[in-house]
Amino acid sequence: MNRDHRQELLDAIQQADRAGANAIIQDWAAGHSYQQVVSDLLSPTLETFGRLWAHRELGFSLATGYVAAKVAEDVLARLLEEAGARGEAQATLKGPVVLGNVEDDFHPLGRKMVGAFLRADGWEVHDLGVDVSPAQFLDAAEAQGARVIGASAMMYTTAKNAAKLREELERRGQAGRIQLALGGAVFKLRPELVATFGGDGTAPSAVEAPALFERLWQCATAQRGEGAP
């Protein structure tokens, strides 16, 4: 009997069962190349997961989001390990980008999930952690050559600090050249705040962050008068 690995993987994530999810991926990979895991199993499953999670379907909790991100990290680690064993360079293809929670915000989960999904999608991610000042964001972005900053805030009170990050971008003449992605619970509840506080874009869930960062990277590249990377 043919197994529906995508559904099984979705079920395991929904049950916050990281080990079970990885066993399902291993089983699928036994009949395929592990390189196909991302494109043929993980990405389609996470797309479905992201859709259900964004709509707060029953059974999709904070824990399931965490496990989905961990499973993406596990797959990436395995891919890097295999590439290393073959003597291939472990170079990432996209980025770099910078992530952090805005000043005074101490809620790391959403940011960590975004980082996991970006890395699994091949982005070089520099994660600055929680309570990051505008200057720290810009210093890191300029030092790394990042064209996208992802800033997270959970509440309105701390989301207001994203406006200071926008001011710092403007002050350093980096507006447009470095795009600002805003995310976190309050932006999900009130997406209009993204524009209010100077963001260039947002995504309805962490799973959809890679597509957002792709779009923003292209905007920054166009702003610099350069071609596609």
């Binding site: 916050a16 990281r18 824990a63 965490y66 005074d104 929680v130 309105y156 509840l189 009130r190």
Partner: protein, 203 residues
């Protein structure tokens, strides 16, 4: 009716109920209070609706009381809800900052503390398992990645729930620290909010 004679009410999260009632019983706080369940925190949209209803009930036809919210920034429109003549909110991002004061709260958060207020410590399993879905190894992995320790904020009203804290510590894989806290920052926050609401009302 002038601002100074207008009746004043407080709409508070039940997370503060024992502490506020202790302040009232000790004669340190003269403020009638309506409490809403703290579990509304888990569904901010529902909390917002309940707060709007509570506010409308406290101020029928716009001629009602000056209203103080004993809340953190717990729903998407909290700031707007507590804006306007005769309205104010206790200062602080969340209940833990209101209880601890800003400096202590930030210091502990930077150290990776996860706070347990007395009411939520007693119902920790309901929150972590039923609401957040943290089961089995996932609970430990998650908490250890995000935090360094549990900090129980002992406001001195209830006995420290040693058994529940030990169970939570084992389940979540983090050590627990019991931190005695004064009710003074909560009292100061409520008094400051009441003053601000009345001053705003008088403008």
């Amino acid at each position: 009716m002038t601002a100074s004679t207008r009746p004043i009410r407080c709409i508070a999260c039940s997370i503060f109920k024992k502490e506020i009632e202790a302040l009232r019983a000790a004669g340190r706080l003269d403020l009638p209070v309506d409490y809403l369940p703290s579990m509304l925190h888990m569904v901010p949209e529902r909390l917002e609706t309940r707060l709007q209803t509570a506010l409308a009930e406290a101020r029928p036809e716009g001629a009602g009381a000056t209203v103080v919210f004993a809340y953190g920034d717990c729903c998407g429109h909290m700031e707007e809800l507590a804006e306007g003549p005769g309205l104010a909110r206790s200062e602080g991002i969340n209940c833990c900052e209101i209880i601890l004061g800003s400096d202590t709260y930030r210091t502990l958060r930077r150290e990776g503390a996860f706070f347990l207020m007395p009411e939520w410590a007693l119902g920790w399993k309901q929150i972590f398992v039923n609401q957040l879905g943290l089961l089995g190894p996932c609970a430990r992995e998650f908490m250890r990645e995000m935090h360094t320790r549990l900090v129980y904020l002992d406001t001195g009203i209830l006995p420290v729930p040693e058994a529940e804290l030990a169970e939570a510590s084992a389940f979540l894989g983090l050590p627990v620290e019991v931190r005695p806290v004064s009710l003074d920052p909560l009292l100061a926050s409520l008094e400051q909010a009441a003053h601000a609401a009345r001053a705003h009302d008088a403008e």
